[in-house]
């Protein structure tokens, strides 16, 4: 009898997939059932730690609300609240229907296919992108992040750090100026690893200053909180820059001369002055008293200041122009905009400048490197506005002028430089200089990094990204163009949406406008749940969750820790197949065969997944998903480290070298302090938009930063006297986690997670008390949402703050769709180009609202 009780008892290594950080897991399985999830202490990414979302995955795996079989709608009417009339179909019928649709579209015009996905399906979406590329469409939308993407921040990540995102050096930073990010608190990149590392940095003595409208999950971990009016971070940064450069004269001259375009001579037309022979940008050598091409080996010194005559023209170094440009932006100018006292701005500028310790060095691995222990962080909060590009530029220049970019203590690109896996030399990339000496990223998630900019083309994509090459991420224009392609001279309409795991209806802006854009599209959804976006679907496929599927590697450049070790993991199924759930990658391979795309697809897989001989996919064979993953691992890590090795060991890691982490002193690339090419690019965009008859405000394509008010800032009526803002919390990711009972329980403990943060005095003036139900009415959309007031002194008095993407209404989400489970902020935001920063196509995310006590209190 005892022998019959013998149990399977295993710990299986894999990776988390609830957000984009890809933390390493150990999953405890007993007799085929997952009973616990823990962090994997072997991983350099999260070092054994997990956030609430990570440990709660078991509840999503076994959620009885999961989609378990393929479904098709029977109700032809589509709407946000219209029951689709789901009926079960076989996989065969589903695939036949999908393949027939795809085949027709591919024959007619492949651009009519759209791919939507989310960053939490970081393994499936890149594979689906390969499918879409092969298919021949340029149209994709990472809609799960939607407006929560830090679009303009990613643009400057490419231009200044050769990376998608950045983090402070947790080992050496001493002063973190944090404009509203959740780094170190449970959101943002490398989430749990950085939470631990930032906590250690605090113990070590790092000061963390949070500039944020709300003393929320990010700011509450700081040493100092400075409340600021939403959308004015750029003004704060401009005033700081002015204090640093014009009042305190604190800047890193050596860094500016050798690693930026600060010494490049600028003419009165705003462009570089170039030498006649090679057309290279010129600098002024003060020792030889003459102009020289920036790369001239005879240069003895670079002038940063002064005014010169070159070829009869006035010529000034970019740095001189920047200093002059900043003079009007005094702390006194910024005070009424930001509501931060001028004295506070001066103090912070002084602290930041002093702590940068310009001129100091540190010895690491026997190398003497600059030591600049300050970093400026910002993401969605500061940049998610109409002024995204110019505000981001100001925030970025703070790090650049003190030389704290990619050096010990400073702001580090998330894996800008890799010397490769030692045993194979694969996974190797490094930033390079172009002809003008400016940096080009070595690795980028998309085929075209923002610099050098792509040619400005007509409206060949459904999101204006063909016309505006500076948009690096999710385009705020997509729903606008998709709803009316003729207006934008797009010569086709989207007919089909291949929808991989995002709930885009709730993650962009006004869901009613999103419904209008998507309701006439044939939508196939790979879905865990019948969420709000599936109300617009024609076919729903039962998706395998991250605990049920194999990945070709979920890691990407932003999931590795910025310091310590390189670490690449496996994502593998920890249970057998449940019901009829299948991984999207498996299904896409089946569709490749049905569409006769194997030869093209395999060539694309070899190219995009870096599968090299002898592991390349040969077109006369048909490979399973497991075989493709195995070949990729072997190609990257050698014959000994195929899929079976990874399944057993979970990860491979090796130490990062100083010249990988702190790569800037080793690099001959320069970054722009003066964004010279923005101006001619903007002129091209304007010319193209005028040619096509599209009204676009291209005035923000300018080389130096300034502050411009958001639409909400201009609207100043008594009726709409408050700003509503959105922020991220550690216990939910976008709109995809609200049906998880454990996360629901944790969220209920925190009165802000499902409530509306409002200043105590602001609430008192409106007769609102703690726990009262309140109504928030949007000025631009007219929509009203309801939630319970959570009173606090820790919020700017002009602001109400709403967490995450709650407020679900799908009848199939039995936990999430109850009253009081958060609010859907998106109902407050309008869809339209007036609310979009044109150069980055960022959606403005602060809105004016009326807040009042609800007449009916449950």
């Amino acid at each position: 009898m005892a022998a019959n009780l013998a149990q399977e008892d295993r710990w299986i290594p894999t990776t988390c997939g609830v957000c984009y950080s890809v933390c390493a897991l150990q999953v405890h399985r007993v007799n085929g059932t997952v009973v616990k999830i823990e962090g994997n202490p072997d991983s350099a990414t999260n070092r054994g730690r997990l956030c609430p979302r990570g440990v709660s995955g078991i509840m999503t795996l076994y959620d009885p609300n999961r989609v378990n079989v393929p479904l098709k709608r029977t109700n032809p009417e589509k709407g946000l609240n219209t029951d689709p009339g789901w009926v079960q179909i076989t996989w065969e019928e589903a695939l036949d229907t999908i393949a027939a649709r795809l085949s027709k579209i591919r024959r007619e015009d492949p651009r009519k296919l759209l791919l939507t996905g989310t960053v939490t399906t970081q393994d499936e979406v890149p594979f689906a992108k390969i499918f879409a590329m092969t298919f021949g469409t340029p149209n994709g939308w990472n809609s799960g992040a939607g407006n929560h993407c830090g679009t303009a921040e990613h643009l400057f990540g490419a231009l200044l750090h050769a990376s998608w995102s950045k983090l402070p050096d947790p080992d050496h930073c001493r002063y973190l100026l944090n404009f509203g990010t959740g780094t170190g608190s449970g959101s943002y990149y490398c989430v749990t690893g950085m939470a631990q590392r930032i906590a250690e940095a605090r113990v070590r003595g790092m000061k963390h200053v949070a500039i944020d409208p709300f003393l929320g999950p990010g700011a509450e971990k700081a040493d100092e909180w400075i409340p600021i009016r939403p959308g004015t971070d750029g003004a704060f940064a401009l005033a700081m820059l002015n204090v640093l450069l014009n009042e305190l004269s604190i800047y890193d001259g050596d860094y500016l001369k050798h690693h930026t375009n600060a010494p490049y001579l600028i003419g009165d037309d705003g462009l570089y002055i170039r030498d006649a022979k090679q057309q290279l940008p010129l600098i002024w050598d003060p020792v030889d008293a003459g102009e020289k091409p920036f790369s001239d080996p005879t240069i003895k010194d670079f002038a940063l200041e002064g005014e010169y005559r070159v070829n009869g023209l006035r010529a000034r170094p970019a740095f001189t122009i920047l200093r002059e440009h900043l003079k009007p932006f005094t702390p006194e100018w910024a005070e009424p905009i930001t509501t931060v006292p001028a004295a506070t701005i001066r103090r912070i500028a002084n602290e930041f400048g002093q702590e940068a310790r310009i001129g100091s060095t540190i010895v690491l691995e026997g190398k003497v490197l600059p030591y600049r222990p300050v970093a400026v962080m910002y993401f969605k909060g500061a940049q998610g506005h109409k002024n995204a590009l110019l505000s981001s530029m100001a925030l970025e220049l703070l790090t650049e002028v003190v030389g704290a970019s990619n050096v010990p203590g400073g702001l580090l690109g998330m894996n800008s430089c890799s010397l490769g896996y030692p045993e194979t030399g694969q996974l190797k990339w490094t930033p390079k200089a172009d002809r003008d000496g400016l940096m080009v990223t070595g690795r980028w998630p998309n085929p075209s990094p923002p610099y050098p900019p792509r040619e400005v083309k007509g409206a060949e994509t459904i999101d204006l990204r063909g016309m505006i090459p500076t948009c690096p991420g999710s385009s705020g224009a997509l729903p606008v163009v998709m709803a009316d392609p003729e207006r934008f001279k797009v010569p086709y309409k989207i007919e089909m949406n291949l929808h991989v795991g995002s709930n885009y209806v709730m993650t962009f802006a006004n869901p009613k406008a999103i419904e209008e854009a998507f309701r006439n599209v044939f939508q196939v959804s790979f879905a865990l749940f019948l969420d709000e976006s599936t109300y617009l679907s024609d076919i729903v496929l039962p998706a395998a969750s991250y605990l049920e599927r194999l990945s070709h590697t979920a890691d990407w450049i932003s999931s590795n820790s910025p310091v310590g070790e390189w670490c690449y993991h496996v994502r593998q199924p920890v249970v057998g197949q449940i019901a009829e759930r299948r991984s999207a990658c498996d299904v896409l391979l089946e569709l490749v065969e049905r569409l006769g795309m194997r030869e093209e697809f395999y060539n694309f897989v070899n190219l995009m997944l870096e599968v090299k001989a002898p592991y390349t996919l040969e077109t006369d064979s048909r490979y399973s998903w497991e075989e493709i993953v195995d070949r990729r691992y072997k190609s990257l890590f050698g014959a000994e480290r195929g899929l079976e090795w990874f399944k057993e060991h979970g990860l491979v890691k090796w130490p990062k070298k100083a010249e990988e982490v702190y790569w800037k002193p080793f690099s001959h690339t320069r970054v722009p302090l003066y964004f010279e090419w923005f101006k001619p690019l903007g002129e091209k965009v304007r010319a193209m938009s005028e040619k096509l008859g599209i009204e676009l405000d291209t005035s923000a394509f300018q080389p130096l930063p300034e502050w411009r008010p958001c639409l909400s800032y201009k609207e100043n009526s008594r009726d709409h006297s408050l700003y509503a803002i959105y922020y991220k919390i550690p216990m939910q990711t976008f709109s995809g986690t609200y049906n998880n009972p454990w996360l629901d329980e944790v969220s209920k403990i925190d009165r802000f997670a499902y409530g509306v943060a409002i200043n105590t005095e602001t609430a008192r003036q409106r007769g609102i008390r703690e726990g009262d139900w309140i109504e928030i009415k949007s000025s631009p959309t007219g929509n009203t949402i309801r939630g319970q007031a959570a009173l606090t002194e820790g919020i700017h008095p002009e602001v109400v703050a709403i967490a995450g993407c709650g407020g679900h209404w799908s009848k199939y989400l039995s936990v999430a769709n109850q009253d009081g489970k958060g609010l859907c902020f998106e109902w407050l935001m309008p869809v339209g180009l007036d609310n979009v920063d044109i150069p980055s196509l960022t959606q403005d995310q602060c809105v004016r609202v009326t807040v009042s006590k609800a007449r009916a209190q449950p």
């Binding site: 591919r106 015009d109 492949p110 651009r111 791919l115 960053v119 992108k129 879409a132 590329m133 092969t134 298919f135 021949g136 469409t137 340029p138 149209n139 994709g140 939308w141 990472n142 992040a145 993407c149 830090g150 679009t151 990613h154 998608w164 998630p445 998309n446 085929p447 075209s448 990094p449 050098p452 792509r454 040619e455 083309k457 994509t461 999101d463 990204r465 948009c471 690096p472 991420g473 999710s474 385009s475 093209e600 060539n603 694309f604 190219l607 995009m608 001989a613 390349t616």
Partner: protein, 129 residues
């Protein structure tokens, strides 16, 4: 065989069905090589993506080849592949015999081989973030 010959020789192109395209340019007295070209990706709406067979002098560069294809398929293909400065767009990759070409000025032949397989990938800039 010298590599300085003028571009005055006859080139012939066939699609996978063996149907000939009109000749586009003629090139000196160089030896001819068989070239098979195939397009992949975001280009299906402007070109035939089935394999294309050509005969070209082995002194031709990749730029000669791409220009020839642009001549065949017109402005739309030019716009999809080239910047205004005449360089390949960042999302275009050209491979010759499975090796990515570093420059359009590379020669198609090496004086030894009699055929070449060229793959032109046009990648879609679908967004991250």
């Amino acid at each position: 065989m010298g590599r300085q010959g003028r571009l005055t020789l006859r080139v012939s192109m066939h699609n996978h069905n063996g149907m000939p395209f009109a000749p586009f340019l003629t090139i000196g007295k160089e030896s001819l090589m068989q070239v098979e070209v195939r397009f992949y990706g975001f280009v299906r709406d402007v070109v035939d993506t089935s394999p294309l067979a050509l005969q070209m002098p082995d002194c031709c560069t990749l730029r000669n080849l791409v220009d020839l294809l642009v001549q065949r398929y017109g402005e739309k293909l030019h716009e999809r592949l080239y910047t205004n400065a005449g360089e390949l767009e960042a999302n275009v990759r050209v491979f010759v015999e499975d090796a990515q070409a570093g420059s359009l000025e590379e020669l198609l032949g090496d004086g030894q081989k009699s055929s070449a397989e060229v793959k032109v990938f046009v990648l879609s800039a679908t967004a991250g973030g």
